[in-house]
Amino acid sequence: MKQFLTFVRKEFYHVLRDRRTLLILFGMPLAQILIFGFALTNEVKNARIAIIDPAKDHASRSLAERIGASNYFEIYEDVTNRNRMETAFKDGKIKLAVVFPARFEHDLMHRHNARIQVIADASDPNYATTLTNYITSIVQDYQQELTGTAGLSYRITPQIRMLYNPQLKGAPNFVPGVMALVLMLVSVMMTAISIVREKETGTMEVLLVSPFKPAWVILSKAVPYLILSLVNVLSIVLMSVMVLQLPVAGSWLLLFAESTLFIVTCLTLGIFISIKTKSQQVAMLISLMGMLLPTMMFSGFMFPIENMPLPLQLFSNVVPAKWFYIIVKSIMIKGLGFTAIWKETLILAGIALFFFIISLRSFKIRLDEY
C-alpha cells in the first residue's frame, strides 16, 4: 500500500510538472464549454426573417416593428405572401417567417386572443429553436405591455411550426457531449501516453524488475487520472450551472457515480492501447483516431444517430461515449433516476469489463515477449 501511494504521488508530479498536460487537462474543458456555449450556439444576430401581414392593422404593424427593431432579426422585404415564403425557405433566403391572421387586431381586441404563426426552417434545429424563442419573448413583451396599459388581458398565442424536422431530433445539449469528449481525451489518451512513455524512457523495465507487481504499476497509473477526470467532471458541471445556467435536474451523486463508471471504461481502453503500442506518437494517434473521432461522430452529440445508415447505427452501439451521453442527458437535463438508465449503465460496465479482461490477458503475454 505504501509502495502504491509512492507511485501515485510520482504520477501526480508528472502531471503537475508538464504544462502541456495541465493545459489539456484543465484548459480544454474550459475552452470547450465556452466555445460550445457561446460561439457555436446561442448568439443569433441578424437572422433573415419574413413577416407576412395580410391584416396590416395597427396592432400587427407595431408587433412587426418590434420584431424588426431587435438585433436578432433582419426583415426580408421581398416575401409578402405564403407562396413566396415557400420558395424563400427552399432557397435558404429566410430562416423564419411570422404570419399574422387577416383580422389580427380585431381578434386581439374583441376576442382577447389572437394567433400568429411562427414558421422556422428546422433543418438546423438548434438555430430554429433559438429563433422561435426570441420571437416568443418579443411577442410576450408586447402582450404584457398591452395588458399593462389597458388593464385587460390580451393573449397572443404564437403557434410554432418547425419545418423539415418537426421533432427537433439531435438538438444538441452539448454539455453531456463535451463531458464525454473531455473524459475520453483525458482518460484514454493521457493514460495511454503516460504508460507508453515509461516504456520509451526505459523506466518500465526497471519497474517490472522491482518487486512492485505489474498489475499494480498499471493500477497506480490509472488512479491519478481517475481523480483528475473527476475534477474535470466537477468543473464542467459547475461551469454549466454557473456560466451557462444549465442546472443539474437529477441527482449529483448519480451523475458522479455514472461518470466514474465511464472514466473507468475509458481508463481500461487507455491501458489496452498502451499495452498494444510502443511509442507515444502511436498511442496518441490511436487514441485520437480510434477513440476521439468515433466519440464525436457516434455519441449522438454532434450528429443524430437515428439519421445514419443501419450499419453505422449498429456500430454506434460499441462506442462507450454514446451510452454515457444518454446517461448524462437523462440525469442532467431530464432529471431521471437510476431506473431509467440501468440498461445503459450495464452496457458501459460490460464494455469496461471486456477491455479490462483483454488488457490483463495481453499484458501477461506482453510481459513475456517484451
Partner: protein, 248 residues
C-alpha cells in the same frame, strides 16, 4: 570475489519463441562479489537470458537459481534481491534527484526513515548536495548515469544487473562509472553486466561471450585471449562472432 558462494547458477537454460530458440541450453555460474561480463552481438540472446535471470520471463526448459531462488517459482523473492539498470538510465527526468531516489527506494518498500537517511547519504556521496532539488533533466549525462546506478543498488541487492550501462557515454565518464562498479563489487554485490565495449570487458573478473543463443566462450579475459591466441579482447570477440548465423 569468493568462489565458495554461488549467487547465479544456470543449467541448460533455454528459451524458445515458437520455432526460434533465443537461448540454447546455456550453463554458467557467477560467484559472490564477482563482476561478470555478459558479451554478445545484438540478437545473440543476451537480453533474453538476462530477462530470465531477472524473473521477467519464464524459461522454456533448464534451471536457474538466483541468490538461491528458483526462476520458475520464486520470481518475487528474486526481484527483491536484485537491482537493475537499463541502458536508458531509467530515471524520471521530470522528478528531482531526491524524488527519484525516494521513488525507487519507495517501490522497494524501504522504510521511510531508512530511506531518508539513505537518500541523504547517497546525495552526499555523489557530491550532489547543491543539485538535490534540481530536476534530473538538468543533470549532465555522466551524473545521471551514476545516480541511476546508485539508485539501482539503493535497496542493497545481492546482485545488480546492468544492461549496457555505458552506451553513448564518453571514455572518461565510463572510467568513473566503472569505479562505482568496483566499489559495489567490493562491498559484496555481484555485478552482472552486458556491454559492447571491449575495453570494459577487460575490467570484468570473468566474461562469457554468447553467439547464436549459446555460450561460445567463458573465462577470465586473460584466459580467453590465451585460449584463442588473440592479443586483444576485440580479436577474441571477432573470432567467435564470425561464425554466427547473422554476422554483426
Amino acid at each position: 570475489m569468493n568462489t565458495d558462494e554461488t549467487v547465479i547458477q544456470a543449467e541448460n537454460l533455454t528459451k524458445r519463441f515458437g520455432d526460434f530458440v533465443a537461448t540454447h541450453a546455456i550453463s554458467f555460474e557467477v560467484f559472490r562479489g564477482e563482476i561478470f561480463g555478459f558479451l554478445g552481438a545484438n540478437g545473440a540472446g543476451k537480453t533474453t537470458a538476462m530477462r530470465m535471470l531477472c524473473g521477467l520471463s519464464i524459461p522454456s526448459s533448464g534451471t536457474a537459481r538466483i541468490a538461491g531462488f528458483d526462476v520458475y517459482s520464486q520470481t518475487e523473492e528474486i526481484k527483491r534481491n536484485i537491482g537493475y539498470m537499463s541502458q536508458k538510465f531509467s530515471l524520471y527526468e521530470d522528478l528531482s534527484v531526491v524524488e527519484n531516489i525516494r521513488f525507487f527506494g519507495g517501490i522497494y518498500g524501504l522504510d521511510r526513515r531508512l530511506l531518508k537517511h539513505k537518500t541523504n547519504a547517497l546525495v552526499e556521496r555523489l557530491g550532489l548536495q547543491s543539485e538535490a532539488k534540481k530536476l534530473v533533466a538538468q543533470l549532465p549525462l555522466g551524473w545521471k548515469q551514476k545516480l541511476a546506478f546508485s539508485v539501482s543498488i539503493l535497496h542493497e541487492p545481492r546482485i545488480v544487473f546492468l544492461d549496457e550501462p555505458t552506451g553513448g557515454v564518453d571514455p572518461v565518464t565510463r572510467r568513473q562509472f566503472w569505479a562505482l562498479i568496483y566499489e559495489a563489487a567490493a562491498s559484496g554485490i555481484t555485478v552482472f553486466v552486458t556491454t559492447h565495449y571491449m575495453d570494459e570487458a577487460e575490467y570484468c573478473n570473468r566474461i562469457s561471450i554468447m553467439v547464436d543463443g549459446r555460450i561460445a566462450a567463458l573465462g577470465t579475459p586473460e584466459a580467453l585471449k590465451k585460449q584463442l591466441n588473440e592479443p586483444s579482447m576485440d580479436g577474441v570477440f571477432y573470432q567467435l562472432a564470425r561464425g554466427a548465423r547473422h554476422n554483426p
